[in-house]
């Protein structure tokens, strides 16, 4: 078992008791709720005549079902089911005295974008939310745990979850990312190397120079997709980058109180002599822009690499999965993804819907036009992100290039609102899952990539190497750029 890692330290500070079933009872320091997975939990609470134990440690927003067009957000929502869910959340939070960031607050957005940017997420917390991408909060050196609805009931009623401690795998990222290569490419590489089930039973601790160099938004993108690698939680030890990000945010105390908290944050970091159950080392120097070719996030290649032959997999199930993926994506093994035509470009989500994501994509779009056959959607992860982008004029770059600039929500990541693929459309997407049907159409095809790569694909009308479209790079210089970047 691991010892003296951040995971061990935070676990110990939050452990309440050994439960008779052999699990640990853990205090949840920050509970985030949204409209899709919480209404049933509030009903269960009502049936038992229980109240919300820690309303002050609970925050709500609405993200999964919200329309992202301006007119779509008028109440009541056109979609009756969506209106029911939103109304239920408003009613439940109001009755329990839980802060709710709704449309009128100006701070509505995806839970995993909103909580960090408001400073709600801090190092050394246990963060729980009825959403698998709660792993995101690990970027701050907290333990983010995605939970089901019955567990939401547990947290609402008791402020705690019953949990089994996992093994800790240190993922050491040596080297540094090259030009045009981002945090998204890093985590996609990790998932490809370790497998979509590689993290089952594990928590991932990300570290090493390539991680330390990332800003907080990059670290969030990495931790966010831990779950895609099978790890329920992933984290980065807090450092000065973390503290600088936190300073001055709405829910972060100032002055002496900040310094006191910082002492706690420093105290829970993994010790230099921490013991891990497992250590994996990867070299970030070798990573190139990544794209998926299949139907799970582990089926990914570098942009210059050929799509693997199913026969290259030793395991029969993996082979079948590859064959199924090629058939669904209408792809031939042996070809690269470069040039694979797209119909839709989507930038947003809890993985890549933050200001720096739009900023980077805008730098690619500047002075360029989205291909005329491509429908392009930019959906800020939160209203705060939207406003920050608009203050900097980033929205104008998107609009002038031919993107629709929308209001905040989960949108086409899982198509629970009107933003959906149609038929067998191909989507270049900055989201996190390429499962069949994920973007709203059973025949739809998702190609996961970084926001910069989505912007480049939108312009090209096909998957392409963003390094050929680096900011200010005329098309004829493309080959030189690629050689330098390789």
């Amino acid at each position: 078992m691991s010892e003296n890692t951040l995971y061990d330290n935070v676990w110990e500070r939050h452990k309440v008791d050994d439960l008779p079933n052999g699990q640990d009872q853990l205090f949840v320091g920050l509970h985030l709720i949204h409209e899709v997975t919480s209404p049933q939990a509030f009903s269960m609470l009502g049936e038992r005549d229980l109240e919300v134990a820690y309303p002050d440690r609970t925050f709500a927003t609405t993200d999964h079902i919200v329309p992202t067009t301006e007119s779509g957000r008028e109440r009541p929502l056109d979609d009756e089911e969506a209106e029911d869910m939103l109304s239920a959340l408003e009613r439940n939070t109001s009755e329990a005295g839980i802060t709710f960031f709704g449309f009128d607050s100006g701070r509505q957005g995806i839970t995993h974008v909103v909580a960090p940017e408001l400073g709600l997420t801090q190092p050394g917390m246990v963060v729980a939310c009825g959403d698998s991408h709660t792993a995101t909060h690990g970027a701050f050196g907290s333990i983010g745990i995605g939970i089901g609805t019955s567990q939401i009931r547990d947290v609402l009623a008791t402020g705690c979850i019953a949990a089994d401690k996992q093994a800790v795998r240190r993922i050491q990222l040596e080297g540094r990312l090259g030009e045009g290569v981002y945090a998204k490419d890093l985590i996609m590489t990790i998932i490809r190397e370790l497998g979509v089930d590689g993290g089952v039973g594990h928590v991932y601790e990300y570290g090493g120079p390539a991680i330390e160099e990332l800003d907080m938004e990059g670290r969030m993108a990495v931790c966010n997709m831990s779950i895609e690698g099978g790890a329920r939680a992933g984290y980065v030890n807090p450092d000065e980058t973390t503290y600088e990000y936190l300073r001055g945010r709405e829910y972060v105390p100032e002055g002496e109180a900040f310094e006191d908290l910082k002492q706690y944050w420093e105290s829970i970091k993994s010790d230099a002599d921490a013991e891990y159950d497992d250590v994996v080392t990867l070299d970030a120097d070798d990573i190139e822009p990544m794209v998926t070719w299949g139907i799970n996030p582990g089926q990914a290649v570098g942009i210059s690499e050929p799509v693997p032959e199913p026969s290259s997999y030793e395991d029969e199930a993996q082979r079948e999965m590859a064959e199924r993926a090629l058939s669904h994506m209408d792809l031939e093994a042996g070809q690269t993804m470069d040039g694979y035509e797209i119909d839709v470009a989507f930038i947003g989500t809890c993985t890549n819907g933050r200001v720096s994501d739009f900023e980077t994509a805008a730098s690619i779009l500047e002075g360029r036009q989205v291909d005329e056959d491509v429908r392009a959607l930019a959906v800020p992860g939160s209203e705060t992100v939207r406003q920050a982008c608009e203050e900097r004029g980033i929205d104008q770059t998107f609009i002038e290039a031919g993107f629709e600039w929308r209001r905040a929500g989960c949108s086409m990541c899982l198509a629970m609102n009107n933003d959906s693929l149609v038929g067998d459309e191909v989507c270049a997407s900055s989201s996190n899952r390429n499962f069949i049907g994920r973007q709203g159409s059973k025949a739809g095809r998702t190609v996961l990539m970084s926001p910069a790569m989505v912007a480049a694909a939108a312009v090209e009308g096909a998957v392409t190497d963003v390094r050929r479209q680096a900011p200010g790079t005329p098309p004829e210089a493309a080959d030189d750029v690629q050689e330098v970047a390789d």
Binding site: R13, H14, K15, V16, L19, P20, N21, G22, Q25, G29, V36, T37, Q40, S43, D49, L50, A53, D56, R57, H64, I65, A82, D84, M85, Q122, M125, D131, S132, G146, I147, G148, T149, S150, Q151, R153, D154, A157, T158, G159, C160, I161, D164, V196, D197, V200, I227, G230, R232, D260, L261, A317, M321, L414, A415, M416, F435, I436, G437, R438, K442
Partner: protein, 204 residues
Amino acid sequence: MSDVTSESLEIRTVAGSGIPIRGDDIDTDQILPARFMKETSFEDLGQYLFYDARRDDDGELNDHPLNVYTDGSIAVVNDNFGCGSSREHAPQAMQRWGIDGVIGESFAEIFKDNCKSLGMPAATADRETIKTLQDWIEANPDGEVTIDVEAETVRYGAHTIDVEIDRGMRQALLQGIWDTTSLMYANRDAVDAVAADLPYTTLD
């Protein structure tokens, strides 16, 4: 508040005919597509289980195992079943379809937790053992498959195989305390003490 640690909630065995659902990494978007989550109750979810996977492009029911083994109540799956989202809607839909237990090579963590919350045993065995069981069910579609939680075995035909059930899940099922709310609710004072000792809770 009701007493949920009663004997009536103890789950020692679950049994029924099998449903072999083959394939690794079957994700929650396949098990329950997101568009069917737009309800504030779990009640009607059963009909949406594997909704897209059970249908051809023209909407007709295909030969998906759920369409073939319609009376089955023990699902036998492969590796990393239930990966993807945290939606409890997935095992809720399985339970409401009539599935009482699931045996597989491995399960995604949140999916397994959700099974525990619902009192649905999730047992694991190695690839070869699972394949043999899936083959047997295909040859014996009406044959009974029993998950014995206490003995950590699965019985079918003349066979008894060893399986693993997580300690927490096994204890919870055997003691009838798979509903953890009341367990933890009893520790309210200790929770307050832990909360008060954390620097970030006192600074709000």
